[in-house]
Amino acid sequence: MVRYILKRLLMLIPILIGVILIVFILMQLSPGDAAQTILGPQASEEAINNLREELGLNDPMLIQFGRYVAGIFRLDFGESLKDGQPVLNKLMAAMPNTIILTLAAIALALLVGVPLGIVSATHQYSILDKFATIFALISFSTPNFWLSILLILAFAVGLGWLPVSGFYGAEYLILPMIALGTQTAGVFARMTRSSMLEAMSQDYIRTLRAKGLGERAVVYKHALKNALIPIITVIGLQLGSLLGGALLTETVFSWPGIGRLMIESIRAKDTNVVQGGVIMTATLFIVINLIVDILYAYADPRVKAEYKK
């Protein structure tokens, strides 16, 4: 097991460097000049050039990249072009809020999606199953920014129950969480349904039924346990779309997370913050997927056995 984890950790390094390289190249190619952004549109050519020299922007690209990577390993993402604050501070201030929102959305999705999937599978072709299927299809066809607006219309404007924007307490979390989590709930419902159906058609389930085990125990103790394994992997993959989706949800609800920070920084041409934000999000995604894979290996004795030798 330790060998497996170590191997996976080693594989992380080239991927992370690759991500940094791609993001770095993308940002180098984007319009707008860092020195120009700092000094504003009225700055003289000479002042801009001096600043470029000072910031090392006139150095060859490879040297700039090396410097940037070296900085990241010291947790230095450079400074915001807008207010000179270290990018890391800005990201660290926003990151917890995004993590809270994403985790809440995942939790909601699991709480809604998994039971719905189980019921669908145990009552295949019933009305409940049809309802669950339709819910799932509609949920992942609905853009989360539109759902956000509908939720605001219904619960904030119409009923006046919940606050619309910002994050000053638990009640502020409810609407963004629903907006972000609904799509994933649909994905989980479908995944659970199909993997439950598959698990329930296995020979060992027939054996359990044949020896007279109650239906409840068959479904919840045996089938579900096996059916949940693929769902663990999906949680990791869904996280990518949640972190991406948070960009939109956060913008609609003015949620002080990393998504909103990035969108604002893109508008302000604050490349350093955007660059750091993308790298941070990708890292978070990669690390969580690694954790998910390790959990998966723990949950599935077959994978564990392979690395025990």
Partner: protein, 293 residues
């Protein structure tokens, strides 16, 4: 053992897999509904000039922010433009972006995946690790970064959305190439001395088409969602373009008293994406021999 048995069975049954898929698709009510709605949207896009009662940018200051009526069935916006007409024209943008972005990423991703899967070894490793890197960045974020560089117009949005889904197709194609690579008909093509590109294009790709078509249908849905998301953030198509996401974005300011400005464009997105998802699902079931029993 099991695999061999399956091969024999499919050979015995193999009349025309496409005709069989179509037959099973026709029996699937939901999928057919999805297909009909999709066709309606496509017709809507083609004949937008005929269907839309008003030009998409006709402003009318006598009828600002009017609620839905017989004259303007979806109401009017802040410039008095007819929302129904704008949605009709908007279907052109969404469908174009959806289809072209997907064609672009299917071709690029497909070539990468086919090369990786066919040759295996080091080349496979290099290509797929690069895809892993692309996959590590959430795709909407990647699309935003790309559109930020290229600038926001129709073509660039298509490229950005297309690039960000390349890894998905590379993976799908690679997996199915690997599954057909070692079969006898490929071996015989190699034996009679066919060139590698010809083997990939003539023997391998046609045999992996089914999963690609399914993925592509769902991919169009995803591309439409991404495009509207980008425009909603103000990073994709800009107003006055009748792109649905852009319409939603400007309607947001009037959410308190002119809800129709946000309800209808959003509803159009959901309906089109839903029809694609339902149809894609039906295709998957129709092509999947496991479910046929």
């Amino acid at each position: 053992m099991k695999k061999r048995k399956e091969v024999v069975e499919t050979k015995l049954k193999a009349r025309n897999p496409w005709a069989e898929a179509w037959r099973s698709l026709r029996r699937n009510g939901m999928a057919m509904t999805g297909m009909v709605i999709l066709i309606l949207f496509i017709l809507c896009a083609i004949f937008a000039d005929v269907i839309a009662p008003y030009p998409m940018d006709l402003q009318n200051d006598q009828h600002l922010l009017e609620s839905p009526s017989a004259q303007h069935i979806f109401g009017t916006d802040e410039y008095g433009r007819d929302i129904f007409s704008r949605i009709v024209y908007g279907s052109r943008i969404s469908l174009t972006v959806g289809f072209i972005a997907v064609v672009f990423s299917v071709i690029t991703g497909g070539l990468c995946g086919a090369t990786a899967g066919y040759f295996g070894g080091k080349l496979d490793n290099v290509i797929m690790r690069f895809m892993d890197i692309l996959l590590a960045v959430p795709s909407i974020l990647l699309a935003i970064a790309i559109v930020n560089i290229l600038g926001s117009n129709l073509v660039n949005v298509m490229i950005a959305v297309g690039i960000s889904s390349i890894p998905t197709y590379a993976r799908v194609v690679r997996a199915s190439v690997i599954s057909v690579r070692d079969q006898e008909f490929v071996e015989s093509a190699v034996a009679i001395g066919d060139s590698v590109p010809s083997i990939i294009l003539r023997n391998i790709i046609p045999n992996c088409l089914a999963p690609i078509i399914v993925q592509a249908t769902l991919g169009v849905a995803w591309a439409i969602l991404s495009c509207s998301g980008l425009s909603f953030l103000g990073l994709g198509l800009q107003p006055p373009s009748p792109e649905w996401g852009a319409m939603l974005s400007s309607g947001r300011q009037y959410i308190y008293d002119s809800v129709w400005m946000t309800i209808f464009p959003g509803g159009a997105i959901v309906l089109l994406v839903l029809s694609l998802n339902v149809f894609g699902d039906g295709l998957r079931d129709a092509f999947d021999p496991k479910l046929k029993k």
